[in-house]
């Protein structure tokens, strides 16, 4: 069992990667681990996407045609869990793994072995979760929010769901600890906090949110587990508990979680827009403070997810005001991105296109969020397709678009090749058109009263559902283009320069493309 590390000669570190599968299983290299996170996220994106296709196919017309309602509910539940915990979060952690050390001039992450553990917990967590599709009683179908008492009716899948969530949580917390320790401790000499790239800043704050909110989710699902198997009454009114208490604890995690999935996106967009506008980011410091404000507010807005549950009036008002207050720092950000472009020397390569798509479409999602934040209005919209439209605008055209923008932006640095710009642009335009066909009509469906998470609907909703489904299938197909671009770029292509983009600034662009296996073994000095 005594392995290589014990007798490692120090300069062995400067050798290249190990050969075979062992490289990936045992690696402590942040670039390897970042790559594994990204590939894992991409696989999960397609698995979760396939589930979304089932949902859209069933909703193509009223009535029940393809799947039974129980399976439909499993699909909505699993689609959310897979996309949130399997695709978006690991993609951001993967980007942090790859980019944070090279952006701050560090040789690797602060705790490289822990880093490997954080990653490898994830595939096993999803093995546990996805295996429930084949259990008697099927996969969890009570919604990703796992509200008691409904979720307690889950069959054999229940303990698998809870323990998979625990494993994802362990992975996320360990990953966040590693990232925050890396940024606090491994910055190159001279790289003070107010010189950090905004992607690094947003990840400090995201890591803080992960460390403080994920354990609360762990507590909540532990209470579910003991309520079901060990007789506790946390969410059982007969014993003095309250099902609403689950919602409070869950959303105390859940709202910071929303920002965990968007703050790194802000960082990415704040890196890309200045590059292609060939101007420094407008209002850097206000961006940092806005991000911190959003993070702080995220802990005092949670009950806006449950306005209709029956809270005291003071609670409804408090959570409405805090929620609407979030528009202020978010508005600062959008203003700064637009101001960065003002009189810039702009070009529109694929990363910039996705970043611009993000700014416009994420803002639409932000506005519908404001509408939902107003308590009396939310009484109408709650649990309708308006909510579905809202969070898909912020998560798909927000988080996912930023991940795609980041992939196009840094892919030449990772692979050493330029991606196919023509295919990339095709991917952008097909995505941005179809995603709006997919989600925009859902606003109208929600306003007209179509409830979410139901496999059937009244006939007057048919037209918009058909349009939405056609958009959904086309959006799904468009993502195959993304896969093609990535694979093509990994296999070869025009040689990328070190700087890659004319207007790019930052330490990552001082490295060769592809970035060497070990970089910044001695720290650069930043002036």
């Amino acid at each position: 069992m005594s392995h290589a590390a014990a007798h490692a000669d120090h300069h062995e570190h400067h050798h290249g990667p190990a050969k075979g599968i062992g490289r990936w299983l045992y690696t402590t290299n942040h670039k390897d681990i970042g790559t594994m996170y990204m590939v894992f996220a991409l696989i999960m994106f397609f698995i979760g996407g396939a589930m979304a296709m089932v949902i859209r196919a069933e909703l193509f017309q009223p009535g029940l045609q393809l799947v039974d309602p129980q399976f439909f509910n499993s699909m909505t539940t699993m689609h959310a869990l897979v996309m949130i915990f399997g695709a978006v979060m690991p993609a951001f952690v993967g980007l942090a793994n790859w980019m944070v050390p090279v952006m701050i001039g560090a040789p690797d992450m602060a705790l490289p072995r822990l880093n490997n553990w954080s990653f490898w917990i994830m595939p096993f967590a999803f093995l546990l979760l996805l295996s429930t599709l084949f259990l008697p009683g099927g996969a969890p179908a009570g919604g990703w929010t796992m509200y008691a008492p409904l979720v307690l009716q889950t069959g054999e899948a229940f303990p698998f769901l809870i323990l998979a969530v625990h494993m994802m949580g362990i992975s996320s917390v360990l990953g966040a600890i590693n990232i925050i320790a890396t940024i606090f401790n491994m910055r190159a000499p001279g790289l003070t906090y107010m010189k950090l790239p905004l992607f690094v800043w947003t990840w400090i704050i995201t890591a803080f949110l992960l460390i403080t909110s994920i354990p609360v989710l762990a507590g909540a699902v532990t209470m579910l587990l003991t309520d079901k198997y060990f007789g506790t009454s946390f969410f059982n009114a007969a014993g003095g508990g309250d099902p609403v208490m689950f919602q409070h604890i869950f959303w105390f995690f859940g709202h910071p979680e929303v920002y965990i999935m968007i703050l790194p996106a802000f960082g990415i967009v704040s890196a890309i827009i200045p590059t292609f506008a060939r101007k420094p980011l407008f209002g850097y410091e206000s961006m940092v403070y806005a991000t911190a404000s959003i993070a702080f507010l995220s802990f005092i807005v949670w009950a806006h997810h449950m306005f209709t549950v029956g809270m005291p009036l003071a609670g409804e008002l408090f959570f409405m005001y805090t929620t609407v207050l979030i528009a202020v720092p978010t508005g600062v950000k959008v203003f700064n991105w637009v101001a960065t472009m003002w009189r810039g020397s702009m070009t529109f390569e694929t990363p910039m296109l996705f970043a611009l798509g993000f700014v416009v479409l994420f803002t639409i999602g932000g506005f519908s969020g404001l509408m939902l934040g107003v308590t009396p209005v939310d009484f109408q919209y709650h649990d309708t397709y308006f909510v579905v439209a809202h969070f898909h605008y912020v998560l798909v055209t927000g988080a996912v678009f930023s991940i795609m923008a980041a992939t196009y932006y840094w892919l030449p640095k990772w692979t050493g090749h330029m991606y196919d710009e023509r295919l990339g642009k095709l991917h952008f335009w097909s995505s941005v058109i179809t995603v709006n066909i997919l989600f925009f009509p859902q606003h109208f469906l929600g306003l007209a009263g179509m409830p979410r998470r139901i496999p059937d609907y009244a006939v007057q909703f048919t037209d918009f559902n058909m349009i939405s489904s056609i958009g959904g299938f086309a959006f799904g197909l468009s993502q195959l283009l993304f896969l093609a671009v990535v694979i093509k770029c990994v296999r070869g292509g025009e040689k990328a320069t070190d700087r890659v983009w004319e207007g790019a600034e930052g330490l990552e662009w001082t490295l060769p493309s592809p970035a060497p296996y070990h970089s910044f073994t001695t720290p650069p000095i930043v002036r």
Binding site: R113, I211, F230, T521
Partner: protein, 294 residues
């Protein structure tokens, strides 16, 4: 490219390691086995125990590597700071885990139990559902005890809990004594202070077990006794588990102190475990005040 700084010693980046993947497999087997045993499948417990053994092997192997690297002097002061940040943020995450259960306790006491008793805007509903229910804390009479096991009483604060409070506070002082001894190269003081801390830690755990026996047999207080039993056993149970872990970690530190691993300049492991010990101490104070006393 910016010029490189030759003054700074290179950061120690460990070579590839088998332990993380062993840990991931161990965690998976533990979770998979536990899930199966909850579903009453025959092999569940066996798989879970195999998983736990794999985890123990991982912990042993991983920490052995770290200790041998530390003793070999591979860790620069910068690596030490990484470990410190790692431990600090880990403790923050643990604090938030307990916060969830404290939150449940406060919610039950402030909102759900009084509401069930007829307080608040939905108060009149109580007359229709459980008119006989009277909201009290500790909650002994339940709204509907059909599927639950109501308790006859609860543990008062001024017996064993008070003794346990004094024990944990004293152990916090003895671990600080050991730290001062370590800083002043007083080997005997270090070992005596640690040994006392470990002893007090295990006495605490023993007294908690006695108290649990007392609660279950004399008062019939269990996890299934409604919200009081649920919050009581989950909070004190997770705390007791953390004290047990802390006491085991202190034991390892005691052994390493006896082997002479620590110097006044280099003793991160000692400090990390001491921080952890203070953390379980502070959580206990919260428990003593809000679970036992008020």
């Amino acid at each position: 490219m910016a010029s490189s700084n030759t003054q700074t010693p290179a950061y120690y980046v460990p070579d590839s390691s088998i332990w993380p993947i062993v840990g991931a497999v161990g965690l998976f087997l533990t979770a998979f086995g536990f899930a199966n045993s909850l579903n009453h499948h025959a092999n569940g417990m066996t798989i879970m125990n195999v998983g736990l053994v794999v985890m123990l092997v991982m912990i042993w192997g991983w920490f052995s590597d770290v200790i041998s690297e530390s003793v070999a002097g591979k860790y620069s002061p910068q690596v030490d700071i990484s470990f410190r940040w790692g431990m600090i943020w880990f403790i923050v995450s643990e604090v938030m885990f307990f916060a969830a259960f404290f939150g449940a306790l406060f919610y039950a006491r402030q909102f759900s139990v009084p509401w069930l008793g007829g307080d608040g805007s939905k108060g009149p509903l109580q007359e229709l559902i459980w008119p006989a229910f009277d909201a009290t804390w500790p909650l002994l009479q339940l709204p509907d005890a059909t599927h639950l096991e109501p308790a006859a009483g609860v543990i008062g604060p001024w017996g064993l809990p008070l003794i346990n409070t004094l024990i944990l506070l004293t152990s916090g002082a003895t671990v600080t004594w050991a730290h001062h001894a370590l800083l002043h190269e007083d080997r005997r003081g270090l070992i005596a202070g640690l040994a006392l801390t470990v002893t007090l830690g295990f006495i605490f755990v023993y007294l908690q077990i006695l108290e649990y026996g007392h609660a279950m047999h004399e008062y019939h207080l269990t996890m299934a006794s409604g919200i009081y039993g649920a919050t009581f056993f989950m909070l004190t149970g997770f705390h007791g588990f953390h004290v047990t872990l802390g006491a085991i970690m202190l034991t390892v530190i005691l052994a390493r102190a006896i082997w002479g691993h620590f110097s006044p300049q280099n003793h991160f492991a000692f400090e990390a475990v001491a921080w952890y010990w203070h953390f379980v101490d502070v959580v206990w104070l919260g428990l003593f005040i809000f679970v036992y006393w008020l």
